[in-house]
């Protein structure tokens, strides 16, 4: 299950969605908006995406996770738009028969999301400046 949404992420629904009688382990990851980045104070984030490509990349990541681990169900959801401190920006929930599979699968999925999916965040600093985050250089 893959979704880009402008609404708050109902992470509990995602966790419930992936539970399966044949899967003894569920791992749910939530990325939330942090108030500090290094020593800079963030007051909010704005997320932008290239939607159809982002959905394609999500689908590729889901397929790759399913090819590597015996996944019962997996949910990948990213929120877009304006987020306040503490809001959930991304959620990944995975069920597998055994716990180490579920941990590895969930971690791989979020690592891949952060590497491959065309989504960008704009920091809204406490001093009023804003800055798109493009890792790797200034």
């Amino acid at each position: 299950m893959i979704q880009l949404t402008n609404e708050p992420i109902d992470h509990n629904a995602l966790t419930e969605l992936v539970r399966r009688p044949g899967c003894g382990a569920v791992v749910t990851f939530l990325g939330t908006v942090r108030d500090l980045t290094g020593d800079q104070v963030t007051v909010a984030l704005d997320y932008d995406a290239y939607p159809q490509m982002a959905e394609r990349k999500f689908a590729e990541i889901e397929a790759e996770v399913r090819s590597r681990w015996p996944v019962g169900e997996i949910a990948l959801v990213h929120r877009l738009g304006h987020l306040d401190i503490g809001d959930v920006s991304v959620a990944v929930a995975v069920s597998c028969p055994h716990r180490h599979q579920a941990f590895d699968a969930c971690r791989f999925a979020i690592d891949q999301i952060k590497e491959l999916v065309p989504i960008w965040k704009k920091e809204n600093w406490a001093d009023g400046r804003t800055e798109w985050v493009h890792p790797g250089a200034g």
């Binding site: 995406a49 290239y50 490509m53 999301i113 952060k114 065309p118 960008w120």
Partner: protein
């Protein structure tokens, strides 16, 4: 052929628009597109150098050939999650 290059995040801010039209000869590649983008919008030069180009909603190589009507976008380093 006319290619409409989609711009996101800082690329959109630098160009002041969300779509950059670029005229290219038939058979042009992504490398040709990069050169044309720099000429059409020099402000994008630095960010473009560390961005990938998407063609048809997937990452493309410099050798990838462009075709009329295909979706093309500049993908600056991503920061989702």
């Amino acid at each position: 052929m006319m290619i409409a290059v989609r711009l996101f995040a800082r690329a959109r801010d630098l160009a002041g628009r969300d779509m950059l039209p670029v005229e290219l000869p038939a058979g042009a590649t992504v490398a040709d597109l990069r050169q044309s983008i720099r000429l059409a919008c020099p402000a994008l030069t630095d960010l473009l150098a560390r961005s990938r180009i998407a063609v048809g909603d997937d990452f493309a190589e410099d050798e990838t050939k462009l075709t009329a009507g295909v979706d093309v976008a500049i993908i600056p380093p991503v920061s989702g999650g």
